[in-house]
Subunit: 916 residues, 2 copies
Amino acid sequence: MPDSALAVADKPIQFTPKTPIQYVYFFGGGTADGNGKMKDTLGGKGAGLHEMTRVGLPVPPGFTLQTEACREFMRGEISDNVTDQMLIALHRLEELQGQRFGAGDNPLLVSVRSGAKFSMPGMMDTILNLGLNDTSVESLARKTGKPRFAYDSYRRLIQMFGDVVLNIPKIKFEHIFDAAKLQIGTQQDTDLDVDALRGIIAEYRKLILHETGTQFPQDPYKQLFMARDAVFHSWENERAKAYRRINHIDDWLGTAVNVQAMVFGNLSEQSGTGVGFTRDPATGKREFYGEFLLNAQGEDVVSGSRTPVPITQLRDLMPTVYEQLRTLTQNMEEHYREMQDFEFTIQDGVLYMLQTRNGKRTGRAAVRIAMDMVAEGLISVDEAIFRVEPNQLYDFLVPRLDETQGAVEVLATGLPASPGAAVGQIAFSAEDAVRFREKGIMRSIILVRRETTPEDISGMEVAAGILTSRGGMTSHAAVVTRGMGKCCVAGAGSIQVDEEKGEMRVAGHLYHEGDWLSLDGTTGRVIAGQLPLVPAMPDDPDLVKFMTWVDSRRRLHIRANADIPRDAVQAIRFGAEGIGLCRTEHMFFDEDRLPYMQAMIMARNEHDRRAALESLLPMQREDFIGLFKAMGDLPVNIRLLDPPLHEFLPKREELMVEIARLEITDAESPELTSLRTTLERVEQLHEMNPMLGLRGCRLGIAYPEITEMQVRAIFEAAVEVKKTGAHPHLEIMVPLTCGIEEMRNQATAIRHFAKEIFAREHETVDYIVGTMIELPRAALLADQIALEAEFFSFGTNDLTQTVYGISRDDGNQFLPTYIKHGIFKQDPFAVLDQEGVGQIMKMATERGIRTRPNLKVGICGEHGGEPESVKFCHRLNMDYVSCSPFRLLTARLAAAQAALEDKLAAQGASSQEGTR
Amino acid sequence: MPDSALAVADKPIQFTPKTPIQYVYFFGGGTADGNGKMKDTLGGKGAGLHEMTRVGLPVPPGFTLQTEACREFMRGEISDNVTDQMLIALHRLEELQGQRFGAGDNPLLVSVRSGAKFSMPGMMDTILNLGLNDTSVESLARKTGKPRFAYDSYRRLIQMFGDVVLNIPKIKFEHIFDAAKLQIGTQQDTDLDVDALRGIIAEYRKLILHETGTQFPQDPYKQLFMARDAVFHSWENERAKAYRRINHIDDWLGTAVNVQAMVFGNLSEQSGTGVGFTRDPATGKREFYGEFLLNAQGEDVVSGSRTPVPITQLRDLMPTVYEQLRTLTQNMEEHYREMQDFEFTIQDGVLYMLQTRNGKRTGRAAVRIAMDMVAEGLISVDEAIFRVEPNQLYDFLVPRLDETQGAVEVLATGLPASPGAAVGQIAFSAEDAVRFREKGIMRSIILVRRETTPEDISGMEVAAGILTSRGGMTSHAAVVTRGMGKCCVAGAGSIQVDEEKGEMRVAGHLYHEGDWLSLDGTTGRVIAGQLPLVPAMPDDPDLVKFMTWVDSRRRLHIRANADIPRDAVQAIRFGAEGIGLCRTEHMFFDEDRLPYMQAMIMARNEHDRRAALESLLPMQREDFIGLFKAMGDLPVNIRLLDPPLHEFLPKREELMVEIARLEITDAESPELTSLRTTLERVEQLHEMNPMLGLRGCRLGIAYPEITEMQVRAIFEAAVEVKKTGAHPHLEIMVPLTCGIEEMRNQATAIRHFAKEIFAREHETVDYIVGTMIELPRAALLADQIALEAEFFSFGTNDLTQTVYGISRDDGNQFLPTYIKHGIFKQDPFAVLDQEGVGQIMKMATERGIRTRPNLKVGICGEHGGEPESVKFCHRLNMDYVSCSPFRLLTARLAAAQAALEDKLAAQGASSQEGTR
């Protein structure tokens, strides 16, 4: 095909289309065949170029070969018309530019770029400077008066062409290039003169001949068509296929190809290149913002070899161009009704716009821009709500490391488990952390552990940040710290923690207790030394106003997971409309309670167990009184004891080691007997898979006295608070049911003790009884369970574990591999798996409501604060989502967006109805 | 109500029914109002009595108050007609018997018994001797000439009435009774004379007056109606309600009440009582079989105070009665077309039949009887197939303890984990067991462990039986031994095993290595010493013929789970039509392979891992060659490596203890370094919940070289066997997928290596690639997975674990409580949970077949050999079930019954169609 095209190219163009298919869309000279909406046909980049041209931006002209050509190419039946139409368009481009393609005194050079409907960053290929050959490179040198520029452009073309089109490993070109630099004893590309570049070009051409058996094509048309086919091929390379599979992009969409006249920012001191934003992307302030480099190309900015200067300097250097740029980008902002991020090139004093698109920004900027644009009348409040991504609101909540004070040394990078920053001194155990804090030995503590367990809670509470060498995004450390709104870097595998010795080795350093560390939980970086912190401002006035808009739009109620009064107070501050999950076991990890809890567990009969529970009852009652007082009339959902009991006991292997040691060193020690007794009970409770063992309602059924104590504490507290004039609304939640019998057993007990206390106290409290839906069987039999349960709350952590058969504590062994290979699109513990877990949730909701139409349905797993998951819950028509206080802002915004998406869909549907 | 009835009772009966409802059904004098089919109305017992009367058996006459009366009673709206109809029936009974109810010279006495549609053994109450009072007791004494008999009957009435009707604790009556015996210095009830009994009666009456404030009712009608109401009440007692909940019996069914004339087997030397069978229930031999006691009541048989004699002796004592009994029961067998189990009483030379029903029998007897009855023309072959319960076929397979040689001492009772019996000497570790066997130190070994792990396999193989102190019916020990057809008692909690010391404590005894034990895996008993064994006879000619009938009826194919050639050979002997699951990892636990497996796991990079795998490849290939040769052209399903890798490594806590010891005793030991290295890797692989961790296809995806090695071994073996002229049919199974991406990843690898080997060897083998469906997500997304999978095999062990969120290794902590409280009807690891797990299996099957209509579907979990589960699989229209060789007979029979049930349902439907 390219060969026949060449035959044509030498003749004047005389062509009549045989078919009505338009393969080629031209843009330039103030008009464009396409527009911004034609992403299916022209791809994202192509549609953007056409739209920019259409609205009058000075875009280097060119044309787009549409995606149908790619589809034909994949089927092996590309039409002759494709080539014909390209030649026509190329001719038109020559006319418009007053240049000839790769020939004459003023040669036309073009770029060839892929551009699919959906952005596939880095997945496909680009070739620049097409049209250069042994002849036109001389013309270009003469025309520009810059032989070095011309030959370097030619060198780059051959290298890119060799790599992308001819599939010669890039490294072979680089070897030649490096050898040339070595020969003249430099490391700077710019030190290579014309002769050196000519030498490199000669070597490159030898390489191509040797690798492919043919010469680098001198014919510019041959270059163009080979480049086009290479772009089509790149749609089907393995990287691109994997990317599409992961992102669920249809393989048959194909890519468009954009052919565009080259412009150069490195031609003169009246040339340059830059990037900018119509508003400050960090603060959102409405001011022209950007930076540029004089006499430079985009590559120079990217490589960091020269430091760009603020765009305001352009005003002094080229005032006309600067004003033109300001006006143009301002117009684009009004056109797109969005803050723009743009790229431009100035070639000999002439401004070209290479790209303009909606600009990325920080959360703070997003809120500020959205609100300003509403004030400016540019967008509506509904639109403003979509201008902020829910997760961006974390920006308002976290302290940040101030890295402006000098270079920082990154020791290791782990998972960004809980955002924010922390700076403090290392402690290697929870007890140490508590002691250091209490005795004032350390002002700020970084708790460093291989991994954390519930026993570490008190240490985690006094720490400023947590660093673990093991565990994933939903490890104990990650989940608990996110709940606390506390910075955490988890699973930093290159750190070797020796808790016993009180040492940590990382990047060749040895750290001890008390050494300073800085953590960036937003990026996962572990940084040496003591960096300054920039504090959080959760009561930003912009945010407060923005959230009133948000709340007025959403239907879904948003609650918080909170276990203690202090959390409840914080939850209300962040806008919680109730507590969706109070994990009563968290009340037992306190130092003064753990002994009673352990006594309860160690008890060998009901009598001893009851005695221990009696001691716990008043403490738990006090906790509930605090909680109910804090929440006033808002609903409070309390989950009965859930975790495996051995979480409260010493670790089995530690006991075994201690016993083995004592047997050798002090066999008569009375401690040995006590340790052996403890070990015996720990052995009895030991489970192979505690996640699937004696926990949840299984505890309350096996030991009814536990349920009794908890229910008494709850209702005695509620009655007491009610007597002060408040009206607690309780939801008592039975965990881990897998069928109606468990639900009935526990609900009967709960109602029995409630009735007893109400009768004794001559006072009643509003309450309902329901269950977590966190096992597949509960979801499958939801219609039966709803006979007894007045509400469902999806525990999506456990539900994800059981639906997938993956322990969130252990998934780290293979989840990274899975995500790398695209087997999982994302971590199902971070983002709800709508296809599988969501499917069964939908089933459960529908079945539950069929049995009990007024069934209350919510979610209290970690997903309750993840935007896509919140939206899914909205679409399931749930009553509420519950998340950690720290995630409330995000959840509220996601819920509002979900409601507005409904509204838009309804409007879309009704406007379609109207047109029928 | 009873009071108004009493008023009527004194007058002659003059009554016309106001409504058409028949509450009372009379039986006696050769006719009966009801029949054997009216269980809804008359309850099971009532229907039986009516049927027996109808066919001419000498049943003591009486009447049945139907269940509608009970329902009215529960609603508090019992009709007056109930009492009226009872009085009419009672009058008719008086006429028939020539007696008057509780009055006159010849008083009529009756029993009152409950009897619901479904048998609820021991759940409801019975009262005997109703009609006795201070007057009639004298008449009875006179009439029989046996005052002691009369007063003892009266005493019993008052005691039963006080307990059942008046709710006075039974213990209070027993105190009085015991005091009376103490007074005359005896322990024998029979030593109490008339005066003593009168004294007791007086005390009883005082007790009743004291407890209830009223006298024991002298009016027989009052006794009757109060007893009736007590029976109705007993339907609603807690025991009965719980029983119904567990057995899914509707609370509103209600119970019937049977009122029947009393007969006494203890009136004379011409009286007696006995039980019998029409055929030998142990062997099935067609001979009259039973035992009886002269001059005795049923209670005397039950209490064991006298030893009954063989029924043949009755022939000599009362030849007429004996012949009558033989003929009657023979007639009943012909009438019911089933072997009968009957109870009879002889009162003064007159035979009465109290009950006859289908008799329970051993498995051997069931097969013999079914086949004999076909030969006798009594039943069809189809019927014969239903006469044997599938699980009864285990009788043919297991050795038994011979307990006829004297008293046995039961040391403990655990779970009957794997049936059969074993007698041997104790070994406390697998290595010891292997050594003792190899060196001939022990002839027969009982391996005693706290619990077993896959490392114990070789020890389990050489042991005759396994005893564990922990673990449930599906613990490792239980599952593996059932697979081996080897006796196992699991979870015998009262045994304390100290494996380190080589000791076991039980029931006050201390056992050491080498001591003798006998295990009964069928009952779970652990017996002291060395009992003789009765060997198994799996090739019984009756069984062989019966199984040909069975196989000709079933649709479902039956395969075996078999991992090594020896198992495959056994499977074929038991009728397997293929291998449904070959667990390739079992090939790695062999002593000579474990080091390579461990090297593979310990490898820190792909290179070292590949080297270890290269050593394993030829071994695994040899195993497959043996397997394929054994199976010939039958399908063989091979599962790729599944278990967590740390199963192959030393235990973490043992390493930690060993290191701690060496650190103190020999800190310079080179062993210490090696142990620390091992521990480091073990720590890396350590998982909180290994069941939900790095296992299944996750291994093959994380370490593709494992899949590669296994696939090479499989196909190289298959090609080699094919070259010998056989035609292996392979199914390569990917374990633990949760979505299509995993399936695609592994299927691509499998097909790739197969193709490579076929090309290299110039030979191909038939194979398909599929997956285990053992995670809820796989079931939910079965439609997608079937795009890549050519077959599904349900792994119901794991599926049950994840659907329920219960680890089968740990469920023992609460499953017994759950089953006791009726929260679970049965252990879901033993019997497939059709409601939950079955629901999702149905979903997966339907979705899979929608995608791929010729999808092959089977099951390979432990449930594949459980009859109800097999029938469920038949109804899901699966292609096959696969179970351990030992369960094949059972599965085959269950499959045949399922197919016949289909046939019957179709006949039922078509005959219904015909009547429309």
